[in-house]
Each structure stands twice: as structure tokens, then as C-alpha cells.
């Protein structure tokens, strides 16, 4: 593509007079994207997350060995080397392959928690903020009760009641992570509910349901996305913590937290068994944090004319 074509496409995106709905929307996305990529570290974060997604998608191709079946006879607790890049664990399983497959479980947990917790928080917060009065008081006291529990302890109690397993760990984490989202959404709603543009929609005869869904929620979503992305690291760590306590993923599932737990016994002599999944958690958590920071710059409704 020639430089001229690139230039004209940019002009089209940044046009002050968009000619269609699509152009207006794309132009807006492009401005956010430029602001995002201006932050180099955030871009690194995005690359880490994209790499995680690619690894999870191509796990079958990338992993040289089975993640669950090891060579107990010949390959127990081998140090990192050419045959086994990150060494092997106590059951002779290739740690590199397990980490590659484990990325699927990490993504599974993170995505499920985000799509369960974020909508609940958004709905509770915006309804409470917009309705006010008793609805607000009741919804926010429920939120307070959930906030008052230590996150990991509540998740523990929940997993203990439902039984261990990665699905239950997801539900437990989701249940403990929505209250902050509800608070953010409510705070955001309170700042816009008395604005003239919401009043104007009321004066058109819009129902409260429509106002919350179509006019208030879009304004809360960007701060929520930022917060969820920044929380992703915490979600991964909580999932790993539950796995470490034996209440999350069950053997032989290659979940990173569970891998650290099983490697704990050899941590002094065979450090790589716990070290490799630990490093994976560290890198992915860091990726999400950097991404969240970048999104804050790109999406923050209070910065510039967004």
C-alpha cells in the first residue's frame, strides 16, 4: 500500500464530517487506538495477552508432549534442557507442554469471570444509581456485605460448599469480584443521572429501563473495562491461589496454580517445577496490568473530548 493510500485512509477515519454511522464509529475507535498505542508499555501488555491467546489456540501444535501423560521411568524431575525446555515434574511430564496447555485454563477462568462478574456489577450499579431511594439502599447494602468478606476466604467457603473444581472456582471468584464493579458503575451513574442529556431523554418519554440500558450503561462501560482488565491479574492470582490450595483445578489438569502447588515439595532442589508456572503467572498478570493502564489512557471519558 502506498503512503498516499495510508494518508487518505487516515483522513477518512479522522474526518470531521463522517458520512455514515460506520465511519463515525470507526473514526472514534481509531482515535482511541492511537491514544492506546502512544503508550509503549501498554502495547507490550497487549502483545503479551495476544501471545497468550495464540498459545492457547495453538496448544496442540506448540506442545511437544502430552500435558497429562509423563514418562515416569526415564524423565522424572529433569532439569531444563534441550529435550524438555522447562524440565519435567515429579510424574515425568514436560513442564513446557503443561504450561502451554495451562494457558487455556487461565484464559478460560479470566474470560468466564469477566463475563459473569462485569455484567452483574454493571447492572446492579447502574440500576441502584439511577433508581436511587430504597432500590439503591438495598442493592448497595447487599454489595457492601459482599465487599466485607475477604475475597479468597469467601471463594474458599464457596468452593468448599460446591466441591473443588475449576468451574466452581470460576463461580466463586465471580461472586466475590462483582461488588467493586457495582460501586464503580453506581458512582459513574450518579455523576451523569442529573445531567441535562439524561433529562432530555426523560423528556422524550423514554422508560427508565431504556435510559439505563442505552444512555447510562455506555458511559459506565469504559471505566468498567479498565477496572476489569486491571483486575484480571488478581483473578488469575486468586484462581492460582485456589489451585494452590487444592480447591481449584484438580489433577491432572495443567492449571498454573495447581502446578505450583505440586512443585512446592521440590522447591529447594528442583526449583523449575514451581518456578516455570510461577513465571508464566507473573508475565500474564503483568500483561493484563500494562494493558489496563493503556486502556485507561485510551478510554478514560474524563480525558480530552472522548
Amino acid at each position: 500500500m502506498s503512503a498516499g493510500a495510508v494518508q487518505s485512509r487516515r483522513d477518512w477515519l479522522l474526518s470531521e464530517r463522517p458520512a455514515s454511522r460506520v465511519q463515525a464509529r470507526l473514526g472514534r475507535a481509531y482515535v482511541a487506538w492511537r491514544r492506546f498505542t502512544a503508550n509503549r508499555l501498554a502495547f507490550v501488555g497487549l502483545l503479551i495477552i495476544l501471545a497468550l491467546v495464540v498459545v492457547a489456540a495453538l496448544a496442540d501444535v506448540l506442545a511437544p508432549y502430552s500435558p497429562t501423560i509423563g514418562d515416569l521411568k526415564n524423565a522424572r524431575l529433569m532439569a531444563p534442557g534441550a529435550a524438555h525446555w522447562f524440565g519435567t515434574d515429579d510424574l515425568g511430564r514436560d513442564i513446557y507442554s503443561r504450561i502451554v496447555y495451562g494457558s487455556r485454563w487461565t484464559l478460560y477462568v479470566v474470560i468466564l469471570v469477566a463475563i459473569i462478574a462485569a455484567p452483574i456489577g454493571l447492572l446492579v450499579g447502574t440500576v441502584a444509581g439511577y433508581a436511587g431511594g430504597w432500590t439503591d439502599a438495598i442493592l448497595m447494602r447487599i454489595t457492601d456485605i459482599f465487599l466485607a468478606f475477604p475475597k479468597l476466604v469467601l471463594a474458599l467457603a464457596f468452593v468448599a460448599a460446591l466441591g473443588p473444581g475449576i468451574e466452581n472456582a470460576v463461580i466463586a471468584i465471580a461472586i466475590t469480584s462483582w461488588p467493586p464493579y457495582a460501586r464503580i458503575a453506581r458512582a459513574e451513574t450518579l455523576t451523569v443521572r442529573n445531567s441535562d442529556y439524561i433529562k432530555a431523554v426523560q423528556l422524550m418519554g423514554a422508560s427508565p429501563f431504556r435510559i439505563v440500558l442505552r444512555h447510562i450503561m455506555p458511559l459506565c462501560i469504559s471505566s468498567l473495562i479498565i477496572r476489569v482488565t486491571l483486575d484480571m491479574a488478581g483473578i488469575i492470582l486468586t484462581a492460582a491461589g485456589l489451585g494452590f490450595l487444592g480447591l481449584g483445578a484438580q489433577p491432572p489438569l495443567p492449571e498454573w496454580g495447581a502446578m505450583i502447588a505440586s512443585g512446592r515439595r521440590f522447591i529447594l532442589d528442583q526449583w523449575w517445577v514451581a518456578g516455570a508456572p510461577g513465571a508464566a503467572i507473573l508475565i500474564v498478570s503483568l500483561g493484563f496490568n500494562l494493558l489496563g493502564d493503556g486502556l485507561r489512557d485510551a478510554l478514560d471519558p474524563r480525558s480530552g473530548d472522548q
Partner: protein, 249 residues
Amino acid sequence: MTSAISVDRLEVIFDRFRALKGVSLDVEPGESFGLVGESGSGKSTLLRAIVGLAPVASGSIAVNGKTLGPRRDKAFYREVQMVFQDPYGSLHPRQTVDRLLQEPLAIHGFADSEKRIERALDEVGLGKGFRFRYAHQLSGGQRQRVAIARALILEPSILLLDEPTSALDASVQAEVLNLLEEVRRRRKLTFLMVSHDLAIITHMCGRLMVMQGGEAVENLAANDLVERRVTKDYTRNLLKASEGFVRTT
């Protein structure tokens, strides 16, 4: 003939503060009626009470002869629309002009929204180029034109104007006022207009009411104001103040 708007001994109380103390008012259909007074005199509150945005404690409001209950229905909003004072705050920051104008049509179930949006933009003097812009891509005057288009798109018979030009600079002010005047003549609208600017009120309105501290001070015709036939001291002071700063040397 029934009045377009008839307000009878209206009281509005915000948390013990009496913002309106028994104000009565009659606006004839097709008339342009002005409300004048200093800040805090209750003139904006009166407008907000009519559209249901202020807590009415007692008194009654009737529109086209129909007395309004505590809740306004959709039919009411097709009769009465309002233009807000601050064009920077009255347009949703994440919606294009197109979305803004689509919304009332969708709420009221109009089928031919494409045509109506184009016509509404034409009517307020904004071309097609403005249709897919966001509020931040518009100037103050353009924003107020969009707000007027939004109010007119439901084809109301009564337009409430809450200081529609006070946030705009003088040249743009004149443009928007001319636009409003033109729209009123073409559509035979009833205006109830709030302003603290006596010049604007005498230019735009046939009759007016002076308000102070939540009460009506006096009712005048615009000509009375021009010829200084006022009876109350407060109005006289207001007139004097509107002449502005006078150099004494």
C-alpha cells in the same frame, strides 16, 4: 379558547426550600410568553415543574386544557418539548447527532425516521455533513441547533426554552434567536421562554411575567417594557440594571 399552558397557584418545594410560592400563569396558543427575573427567582423551576422535573407540592398545571397528574405520559411529551440552557451539557457525549435524533423517534415509534432526521437537520440549518458527528465536534451554536432539532422532531405544539442562548456569544445568539422565531412562525408554536436578558424577551415575546424570589412580581406586555410603563419598583430596577454600566464622568 383554552390556554396552551395554564398554571394555577403552583408551589414547588425542594427539601423544605420553597422555590415557587403560588405562581399562576396563562399562555395562549401560538403566543410567545417570557419569564424574566434574576438568578434564583424560580423561572427555570417553573419550566421544569411543567415538564415534570421538579417536585410539585400543590397547585395545578394544565396543558391544552388537560390537567396534568404527577406522571407525564408519552402523549404529553409529543405536545411539550424543552430546550436546555447549556448546549455543552444537553447532548449525550457518546452519541452522534444521528443517534440523538433517532432516539425520540424510536421511543415514539415513528417509522420514517430517515426522512424525519434529514428534515429536522435541514430545518435548523445544519446540513447532512453534521449528521454523523459527535457533540464534541460541534460548536456551541451548532449544538444548540441540534438540541432544537431534537425538541422539534416530535412535532410538539409547545416549546419551553430555558435561556436557550445565554451560553452562546452574541453573534451566535442572534442566529439561534432568529432560527427560533422562524420555526415558531412556520409551525405556529407556543413558546414559554425564560431569560434574564430583557432585550431578548422584548424582542421575542408578546407578553411576559417578572419573577422574584419564587413569586410573580407583575405581568406586562412587551410594549409596556419598551415604553417603561412598569408599576413595580423591582421591575424598574431590573430595567435599570439591564441598561448596564453607566460612566458617570
